[in-house]
Symmetry: C2
């Protein structure tokens, strides 16, 4: 005889228990939580399997489109989650997962996040957030101060002013960029005479009223795709994002930018915004922001800096000079979930002029009444969580000098990695790290030498094979599950601007050691030998030449 499997019941009593009785410490979820609390990295190491299944196999566990008619016990469900979801998730905190802007998190973040969820504030209005509203305004003020360094008086005047805003929290850099360009657009097409402003009457009448032949956004060809997305959403169109060429260091060519501005002015096409990139996603380089600010000033146009990734560098007194000129931007995007080490989903946009946001102000009867301090009247999003608390606490617990250490260490680590790649006979450094990001590829010394001797056509042929090899190694390494680097395709000046496939690494995780980096290279070298196609092809080419 077997004991019949106990079944959960959807009864009023069971539901009441769900809302009132805590998970028992010895329950499955209680034990999981304890494990996470005591040793998160250990938990992730134990529960995420290294050898992943293919995505199409994993999908088989997530095919049912019906909402269950039968409730599950929490513990049964947790076993299911561990088995099907957690085991097949990505170990983003791993020191050897250096392919994206992910990292281990400070240990205090976990219990603090739980407090945040438990408080479940809604920052859209004071009535559902109370002290969280001034807290968020203070954090925005601190970040504003980090960028713009205004005097105390400035913050006394504006930080808590109902009609003003120094910036906004949002779910990430994309929403921050959309918000900034929305502000730029509405500010450019303000109410004027009998024109009631773009906010009320839309883009068509705005362009007609102001008599521009068109509207464009200028950004380097390394700009993040969210800028094209912003242009689409804001009704300007992706083609209006004009990509300006970069120099050999992946920084915008200011001469070309200037020429483009000149040309557009003659055509009566208005530059809505010049966008500087402080930390390109693919190479980690920072545009010459100060020069860009000069050009923006000369042509009287809005200057936005997308520092989603690199903005945290301002916390380092040693390196903040890399972003010199950022304080001249009208707005700046910074993601806290990148190098500020808070969990996914925390972006910010900051505005130099606290009254800029009046161009996007919204009000409603039941909330966001005029004159209220409700944050929702100046944000793209409506209901939002109290995640500003995590940034607030991190700034206090880690402090600026602590962040400086993290930033400096990351850059040093990237420089170290660049140096060992450079010294290694099998690898070619493609972009040097300016921040903690670099790109490289597998390319045996012999092949690198060959590339310098052959004609363009041969060069291109070799680069294609090297690209295939890089792709092969990257995939194989990911599948092996010990480490992960990402890959992308970038134009390389020394190969006549040809687009080549490269490994891309971001060294933001403080737990990544130099030994980890040496191991990653060693593994890649070995994997290259497993390629039965590409290496022989390359060496045949060497023989032929």
């Amino acid at each position: 005889m077997t004991t019949p499997k106990r079944t959960a019941q959807a009864t009023p009593e069971a539901l009441h228990r769900i809302f009132t009785l805590a998970e028992k410490p010895h329950s499955t979820l209680g034990r999981i939580e304890k494990e996470i609390s005591q040793n998160l990295i250990g938990f992730l190491n134990n529960h995420i399997v290294a050898n992943k299944n293919a995505l199409t196999d994993i999908e088989q566990d997530f095919v049912c489109p019906r909402i269950p008619e039968q409730p599950e016990f929490v513990s049964d469900h947790m076993h299911h989650l561990l088995d099907k979801l957690v085991s097949q998730s990505v170990h983003t905190a791993s020191p050897t997962f250096i392919g994206h802007m992910t990292s281990a998190l400070p240990a205090f973040i976990l219990p603090l996040s739980k407090l945040m969820v438990g408080l479940n504030q809604n920052l859209v209005k004071v009535e559902t957030s109370k002290a969280f509203t001034p807290l968020e305004r203070q954090v925005v003020g601190m970040m504003h101060n980090l960028v713009y360094q205004k005097d105390e008086r400035f913050y006394q005047d504006w930080m808590h002013s109902a009609e003003h805003s120094l910036g906004a929290f949002c779910s990430g850099g994309t929403v921050a960029n959309i918000t900034a360009l929305w502000v730029a657009r509405n500010n450019l097409f303000k109410a004027n005479g009998n024109f009631q402003g773009i906010s009320r009457t839309g883009l068509f009448s705005a362009l007609q009223h102001y008599g521009y032949q068109g509207l464009v956004i200028l950004v380097s060809e390394r700009g993040h795709y969210s800028l094209r997305k912003s242009a689409d959403i804001l009704g300007i169109g992706q083609d209006s994002v004009i990509a300006i060429e970069t120099d050999e260091n992946n920084k915008i060519n200011c001469q070309k930018l200037q020429l483009k501005c000149e040309e557009l002015q003659k055509q009566n096409i208005k530059v809505l915004a010049i966008v500087g990139i402080a930390g390109t996603t693919e190479t980690g380089n920072v545009d010459p922001l100060d020069k860009m600010a000069d050009i923006a000033k000369q042509y009287d146009c809005y200057f936005h800096v997308d520092a989603a990734w690199g903005g945290a560098t301002l916390l380092s007194n040693k390196h903040r000079h890399i972003l010199a000129g950022i304080d001249r931007a009208d707005s700046v995007t910074i993601d806290a979930h990148k190098q500020m080490y808070v969990p996914m989903g925390v972006g910010m946009v900051l505005f130099k002029d606290p009254s800029l946001v009046s161009d996007i102000a919204h009000h409603a009867e039941y909330i966001l009444r005029k004159g209220s301090k409700d944050l929702g009247s100046h944000t793209l999003e409506g209901s939002r969580s109290g995640v500003a608390m995590l940034v607030y606490s991190s700034l206090h617990i880690i402090s600026r000098p602590g962040y400086e250490m993290l930033i400096n260490q990351a850059i040093e680590k990237a420089e170290y990695f660049a140096s060992i790649i450079h010294l290694h006979d099998d690898f070619e450094l493609i972009t040097k790290p300016e921040l903690c990001l670099l790109t490289y590829r597998y390319a045996p010394k012999l092949i690198q030498d060959l590339l310098l001797q052959v004609d363009d056509k041969q060069q291109s042929k070799i680069n294609t094979i090297l690209g295939e090899l890089t792709q092969f190694i990257q995939k194989r390494q990911r599948e092996n599950g010990h480490s992960f680097v990402s890959r992308t395709r970038i134009q390389v000046a020394r190969y006549n601007g040809e687009k080549v496939i490269v490994f891309r690494v971001v060294l933001a995780n403080p737990l990544t050691s130099r030994a980890n980096l040496r191991d990653i290279l060693a593994e890649q070298s070995l994997l290259a030998q497993e390629s039965e196609v590409f290496l022989p092809k390359l060496f045949d080419l060497v023989k032929d030449n």
Copy 2:
């Protein structure tokens, strides 16, 4: 002699500890966490003070615009947070906080949220989320099924298809509405002939190419303010959101809607979308969606339903008929952080046609490559957390019948509250609950009778004083801190459409008891007596008449 206060140090070792050593169970944060884990409601009751300070006083604790140069010990910082932030936050889980769409959360949500934060996935791409990507697609599929009830085959074909999407998770209803109208706009202005589509060339050329004289969105006058915000962002302009009159039950008047469509067609003004409201924010009423779908079909325009709040009602077999016709909508917004009992920051938009999102698809080299299953290629936001897991688990643990109980109980509770308001001599029910939301005001029987006898001018005078009294009671009750109802101004048909100030309550919290509701009325009655101005004024008017 006093022991010098220990000071935290920003050293590499201290930082390493922050990233590697868990909070000790007996540390301050450890103890807070234990308290939250064992008894969240108790923790909130103990730590949030009932008698709040004024916001301007609280602001004094959040004025420093400098990022600290000195790190803090976690435990010191936690004392500070408890003292300055938590104590002055809002007890949104309280059974007597019935003014907004907040509630207690199921107990399993807290440890589960911690797991989510610990895993720190980024859903923008498979490389940083792996199994979370199919999981999110499944949850979107389940919600799609809840709304559209397509057959199994449909979900087999589209749920995991790289080029398709049944919807998207986003930070909330506002982003969901923007996404839906963005899709509607881009779909309307598709590439055509030598026109490359609005997504590429923008709104100006789109209107020129298609030759419309204008573009509007039609929604009832009870529509959420996020729709005007969406119109602003999308370049259409807030004035293009045309508010259609509602009937005495706050539902859109379909005859007026039809007439407006007719009129616009004659003027060659294109209706971008008709938007139905399934649960107005202020009164909780649902538009006649089926009739609206007929009209949308007749005029060949996009039909969106904003069911941010009421969408969860579909989980109740008993009440889902209230939303009949929702399956005819091209897109639907539902917030999971409202009546689906997950924490703040979880919205969804669902699309009837899985290929609709191709009009907003975005790609980039290093991620979101064409043909990949990266979720980020079809969402407004970029990096996003794995919060879909919380919805997934809630659907499994609570199950549809469990949700049905929660929804049904909430509506019954609202009906009960309406009945005791109706029977009470001092209160006037303004809008009856269709879902779990109602409005009422303080108005002694004598005054209610008087209102029926006097002329319009007198009526308006009385309503103004009643409004001031309602406002007085609402503020005083909030300040007392035992309970909270919100207030708004709505047009009331029986007073010739005059706007009157009312109490607004949402009864979504399963822990709110009938006794709580009786106490809230009793407190309001008492508070009315404390008004030394308004009640005497009103009774003078009775005497005069």
